[in-house]
């Protein structure tokens, strides 16, 4: 506990001086016949020096006067009178006075220094204990609890911590584990303290307050306020205030360090989870596709081997179409996972949208066989900077979507045109269209229109959005005035480097 040693009252010290004087005088009366009255002065001098080791300046002066008077009255001839006879004795009296005072002063200074040293040692010790206590703390909450305990024990006081609330700009709020529940005016003081570093009892600001408030800061902006409320009889001196400020600074440093450590841990976790996600994605992709490849290869080999009955032939075709479908689902899941984990890294290059569309339609093969697909591409469309395969997958998803949700035999129209600085590719169908309240959420992951027919994963449109936005484009869904839904992909048009005739 850090208490300045309780000051013995001055009266006690004066009494002590008087008592020592009385005791030494008696001793001297007994000694005088053997050593003579001159040496008696030395015994008194010794007593004064010893006294100076234990008492303050006032009592020392008091003791010096007492002993000097005692010597002159009781021992210096003529005895039992204030009068000193010989010049030699007068000089001795004066010298005694000077020497006693000087020695006493020196001793007192020594003692004061020792006291100060002791105090600073106590302060360092308290600070050391405080630091050590915080050093092996686990996490921010633990740090704060330890601060409260340690400060409370050191100052024998109730302690409150005020910390910034989570939302920026909010006021400080009381840390729940505080042992001192602040009332409103006390909170107000602590809010003020944020700016003036220290406030409350024993400071310039709000000196009448119950507690002492110190901002938690290590030079930067305050991280909170430490408030202590010692019992009323304890005097808060500047040493204590300084110690409390040291505690506050130390707390701020530890909190700061903890925050850095937390940030580092977070970053590492993020990196690790990203790596984990990537590894998982790769291994899932491998583990799902390899058996799929095996199934489809086996079915195809079976079918091509000949000698199958028509029924068996049909079964192997079923296996084939089921694996194709499953493969699409796996593909969608992996794409969605890539989008979700932010691992879509488009490989941008110049692309001809008609080329992309051609590849898309070829890749879909029989999936659009039941619909009439019309293409209308504005002549002279510019090249776009895009990732060919990502645009292709986005378009494929839109087309499969249209084919899935519209009746067989209806038209699916694909148009591409330039609109200002954007190239727009639209896939429009002649199906039932979209419910107006669904349009906004239709591109959300796993969003499925209520009442829509079964089938589909709810991933397709989210993938379209994810892939297109990753390349700096945007998507839009709307109902066509003539009926049916229309999905548009907007890609930014950058001026392609000039291609001169027969260039290079």
């Amino acid at each position: 506990m850090f208490f300045p040693p309780r000051r013995r009252t001055t009266w006690f010290e004066y009494g002590l001086a008087l008592a020592i004087f009385a005791a030494i005088s008696l001793l001297n009366l007994w000694l005088e016949p053997w050593i003579g009255y001159e040496a008696i002065a030395l015994v008194y001098l010794l007593a004064v020096v010893l006294l100076a080791l234990f008492v303050g300046r006032g009592p020392i002066l008091f003791g010096t006067i007492l002993t000097a008077m005692g010597w002159s009255v009781m021992f210096a001839p003529p005895r039992y009178s204030f009068h000193i006879g010989s010049f030699y004795d007068k000089m001795m009296f004066a010298m005694y006075f000077v020497v006693a005072l000087t020695v006493a002063q020196l001793t007192a200074r020594l003692r004061a220094e020792r006291l100060a040293e002791q105090k600073s040692e106590e302060r360092s010790r308290a600070l050391y204990l405080f630091t050590r206590e915080l050093a092996d703390s686990a996490g921010r909450t633990d740090i704060l609890e330890r601060v409260i305990n340690q400060v409370g024990r050191t100052f024998n006081a109730k302690v409150a911590l005020l910390l910034p609330s989570d939302h920026p700009g909010g006021k400080f709020g009381l840390f729940p584990k505080s042992t001192w529940q602040l009332d409103d005016s006390e909170e107000m003081i602590s809010q003020a303290c944020e700016k003036c570093r220290a406030a409350g009892r024993g400071t310039q600001e709000f000196p009448g307050a119950m507690g002492l408030y110190v901002a938690l800061t290590a030079g930067g902006p305050a991280e909170g306020v430490l408030a202590v409320c010692p019992s009323a009889e304890i005097e808060l001196n500047s040493d204590q205030k300084e110690l409390l400020e040291n505690f506050a600074r130390q707390t701020a440093l530890v909190l700061d360090r903890q925050r850095l450590r937390d940030a580092e841990i977070n970053t590492r976790l993020l990196v690790e989870s990203e790596r984990f996600g990537r590894t998982l994605l790769n291994s899932v992709s491998h583990e799902l596709r390899t058996p799929l490849a095996a199934i489809s290869t086996a079915a195809a080999t079976l079918r091509d081997s000949g000698g199958l009955s028509p029924g068996q032939q049909q079964l192997s075709n079923e296996i084939d179409s089921a694996t194709t479908r499953l493969n699409r689902v796996v593909q969608s899941l992996l794409s969605a996972a890539r989008i979700q984990s932010g691992q879509v890294r488009p490989n941008l290059d110049w692309c001809d949208i008609s080329d992309v569309l051609r590849a898309t339609l070829r890749g879909l093969g029989p999936m659009l066989a039941k619909h009439l697909v019309e293409r209308e591409l504005e002549p002279g469309l510019p090249l776009i900077r895009a990732d060919f395969t990502l645009v292709q997958q986005a378009l494929a998803n839109l087309l499969v979507n249209a084919a899935t949700y519209t009746p067989a035999g209806t038209k699916i129209q694909i148009t591409a045109r330039r609109e200002g600085t954007e190239l727009v590719v639209q896939v429009a169908d002649n199906g039932p269209g979209l419910a107006t309240d669904q349009i906004e959420r239709i591109f959300d992951l796993f969003h499925r229109t209520p009442g829509s027919k079964p089938g589909g994963t709810g991933l397709g449109l989210a993938i379209v959005k994810g892939f297109i936005e990753a390349q700096g484009g945007r998507v839009e869904a709307q109902n066509r005035p003539a009926g049916g839904a229309a999905f548009s992909i907007y890609m930014p048009v950058q001026e392609a480097p000039n291609i001169t005739e027969e260039s290079a």
């Binding site: 491998h286 095996a294 290869t297 490989n347 992309v356 070829r362 090249l383």
Partner: protein, 236 residues
């Protein structure tokens, strides 16, 4: 084409660490008349090729010991045996790198067996015919006489610019084979233009406009998304 009738069957080496894929590929290839050897790792595969001559290698890029790309690189230092790589979807960069390293073709897993067999046949045939080519290329309505530099569509001459013709000629010389953007750009426009994909896109658009007049007919130039282009070939 009639592999079955050859006195000595063509041999194919399958390098894949998945035993299931090994078995299935073996069954499919043996059913088509090939002699199949398998290797479960890259090192194993390289050793096998060093000791026995093979007509074709099917190489999975995801091998446990050394990457398929490294196997390909090492193999290409001393052998011109055609290589078809097995890869997965989404791995365009990997495909391009393998093709630029010297792979002859690629198949994406899960693949269609007839597609794989067609690629195998085409790769072996291209490797055997070497540089010697028929001077006249015919495909659908298109007829190109490489010696006379004459391009005919439905019997009508087509006027091509020098670059357009150079591009078409490159495709014809490698008919059926996938060519990466980089390979085409280097051959037609020179090494300094390997990344100028825009040239290729524009010239391909023009070639298509001039040569693919009938939208109902099978396309001549096939786009390999994210990888390059391939000229359709009668048999493939």
């Amino acid at each position: 084409m009639n592999v079955e009738n050859r006195p000595i069957p063509l041999s194919v080496l399958v390098i894949d660490d998945e035993t299931q894929m090994q078995r299935l590929l073996t069954i499919a290839l043996e059913a088509a008349g090939y002699l199949v050897t398998t290797a479960g790792s890259g090192q194993d595969g390289l050793r096998t090729i060093a000791y026995h001559r093979h007509d074709l290698v099917i190489l999975d890029l995801g091998l446990p010991d050394i990457s398929g790309l490294l196997v390909l690189k090492q193999l290409r230092e001393w052998s011109q045996t055609p290589v078809i790589i097995l890869t997965v979807h989404d791995a365009e960069a990997e495909k391009v790198e393998a093709l630029d390293t010297g792979a002859d073709d690629y198949v994406t897993k899960p693949f269609n067996t007839s597609e794989l067999l067609a690629r195998v046949r085409a790769s072996i045939r291209r490797a055997n015919q070497g540089q010697s080519r028929e001077p006249v290329f015919c495909q659908g309505d298109l007829k190109v006489d490489l010696t006379a530099r004459r391009v005919m569509l439905q019997g009508e001459p087509v006027k091509l610019t020098a670059k357009e013709y150079a591009l078409l000629r490159l495709f014809i010389l490698h008919a059926g084979k996938v060519l990466t953007h980089r390979q085409i750009l280097r051959e037609v426009w020179g090494a300094g233009h390997e990344n100028d994909t825009q040239y290729l896109r524009v010239y391909l658009m023009r070639l298509r406009e001039k040569l693919e007049l009938n939208p109902a007919a099978a396309p001549l130039f096939l786009t390999e998304p994210g990888v390059g282009y391939r000229l359709a070939e009668g048999g493939a």
